[in-house]
Symmetry: C2
Subunit: 267 residues, 2 copies
C-alpha cells in the first residue's frame, strides 16, 4: 500500500510544509520506501518528478523541497510496492493526455486490475494495477463522452460509476486532476483539511516542524490538503466515507448545496 | 527557432559534459531564452524536467547538472519561441504514450502545423506548432499500424513519409525516442558525433571545459550525440543532409549495409 498527498488552492500556493512531513513517511517515519513522485500544474501544463528511490533519501525529492514551487493543484505519492517492481515505470503519479489536458493520477490500494479490459487506447508503460486502472478510467471516460471534455457534473457522475466498478476489485483510494480541480476518492482511508481564514497554527506529526498559517497566508487564501492519514496534530482533518468522491476547487470542498452551485460551472 | 541535443548510448551514460555547453546556449552564449527541457529514459519509463525559464538560470537546470543521471537515450531542448507563449505547456520535449511506450519529441523549426488535421486521438496541451505536429505524427503512426508497435524498418519508412509531408509546411528538425533508440530528422541543421574507441579529447565551444573521453569511458563504450550545431571544437561532427532521417541504436549510427542488418531487429 502507499500514501497519497493532494493540494488544491484558490491561488498559487506552496505545499512545502505538508510535503516535509509526507516525504519523511517515504522510508524514515514510515515504510513507504519503494519510490515516490509529485506532479504539480502550471496552468494546464504539469511538471512530474518521480523516482524509485525512497523519498527520504532521493536527490530529486531533496531538490523538490528546495524548489520554489507554487501551484493550484498538486498530487504526490509515496510507494510501498504491492504489484510491479521497484522501478521508475511504476512510480506514481501517472499522466496521460485526454481532451487536450494532462490528467494526473495517483493510487493507494491493491486491485485485481487485470479484470478491467483495456482496448489499447491507453496502455500501461509499467506493470502496476494502478496504472492499469487509470488507463481503464480514461478509456471509459472517452468512450462515454467522446472527444469533448464534459462539464464537472457529468464527469463527477461518470467517475462515481467507475469508482463502484473498480473498487469492487479491491481498494481504490486515488487522487485525480487535470489542473482545474482535484478529485479524491476514498475506498479505505482518506482525509482532508481546509486551511482558510481564520488561519491556525499546525504541527507536523512526522517531524518537529510547526507553522502559523496566519503569518503565511492572505485573508482570502483558501487551501485544501488531502492525505491518506492526517499530517498534523492540531487541525481538523475530515475523514472520507468509504466510497466517497470529493471534488475540490478554488481551495475548498463544497458538499451539498454549495456543490450544486459549483456543478453548474464548467471545470 | 530552438536548439536540440540528443544522446544514444550502448550502456548507461552521462550527458553532463555536452549538457554543460548546451545549457549555456539557453540565454548565456546564445539567444534561446524561452525555456528548456530534458527527458531521459530509465528502462521504458521517462523522466521529464522542463521549465519556461532560461536554461542558464533555471533552478531545475541547475538541479539537472548535479543529478547523477545515466541513461541510454536523452533528448534536450532550449527554446526561442516562434509560435506559442513562454510557458510550461510550450516547453519541449513533449511526451505521449503510444503502444504502451512513452514517446518523447523535441522540435527545432517553424511549421504551418494547423494544416495538419488532428482527429482528437492526440491533442496539444500547449499552443506550439511543434506539439501539434507531434500529435499528428502519432495519430498517423497509429492509423497506419493499429494497436501494435511495428518493427524498426516499418517505423523508419513511415516516419520518412511523414517527414516529407510535414517538412513541406516549414522547417522540421526533430528528435524522437521511445527509449530504445533515437530518431533524428534534419530539415535545415543537425549534426552528430560518435564517441567510441579510440576515444579523444574534446573541448566545449560554449565554456572553458575540456574532457578526455579515454579516461571516462570503457573500451566498449559507444555514444552518439546529436545537436543542432556542434558542441565541441575538436571532434568530427557529421552534418545531416536536408531531409535525412538517422536512427541511432546501441550508441552508433549504421547507414547502408549495417543499417540493413539493424533493421531486421525489432526496436
Amino acid at each position: 500500500m502507499c500514501q497519497l498527498l493532494g493540494m488544491n488552492s484558490n491561488k498559487l500556493a506552496s505545499v512545502q510544509f505538508s510535503l516535509e512531513g509526507f516525504i519523511r513517511r517515504g522510508g524514515e517515519t514510515d515504510e513507504h520506501r519503494d519510490g515516490w513522485g509529485i506532479a504539480y500544474f502550471e496552468g494546464n501544463a504539469h511538471q512530474l518528478l518521480h523516482d524509485p528511490l525512497p523519498a527520504s533519501i532521493s536527490p530529486l525529492a531533496e531538490t523538490m523541497r528546495r524548489l520554489p514551487v507554487r501551484s493550484r493543484n498538486i498530487i504526490a505519492h509515496i510507494r510501498k510496492a504491492t504489484q510491479g517492481a521497484v522501478e521508475l515505470a511504476n512510480c506514481h503519479p501517472f499522466v496521460r493526455e485526454l481532451w487536450g489536458s494532462s490528467w494526473v493520477f495517483a493510487h493507494n490500494g491493491n486491485l485485481a486490475a487485470h479484470e478491467l479490459p483495456l482496448q489499447g487506447r491507453f496502455s500501461p508503460v509499467g506493470t502496476t494495477d494502478s496504472e492499469h486502472a487509470f488507463c481503464f478510467m480514461l478509456q471509459e471516460l472517452e468512450r462515454r463522452f467522446g472527444m469533448r471534455q464534459p462539464n464537472i457534473e457529468a464527469l463527477h457522475e461518470a467517475l462515481e460509476e467507475l469508482n463502484r466498478q473498480i473498487a469492487a476489485l479491491g481498494s481504490f483510494n486515488y487522487l485525480l486532476s487535470c489542473g482545474q480541480g482535484l478529485f479524491a476518492h476514498c475506498s479505505t482511508s482518506l482525509y482532508h483539511v481546509e486551511r482558510a481564514y481564520p488561519f491556525a497554527q499546525a504541527s507536523l506529526i512526522d517531524c518537529d516542524l510547526r507553522v502559523d498559517f496566519g503569518r503565511l497566508n492572505h485573508l482570502d487564501d483558501s487551501i485544501c490538503v488531502v492525505a491518506t492519514k492526517p499530517l498534523t496534530t492540531d487541525e481538523r482533518w475530515i475523514a472520507f466515507e468509504a466510497g466517497e468522491l470529493r471534488y475540490f476547487r478554488g481551495g475548498s470542498f463544497a458538499p451539498g448545496g454549495r456543490l450544486q452551485q459549483r456543478l453548474n460551472l464548467a471545470i
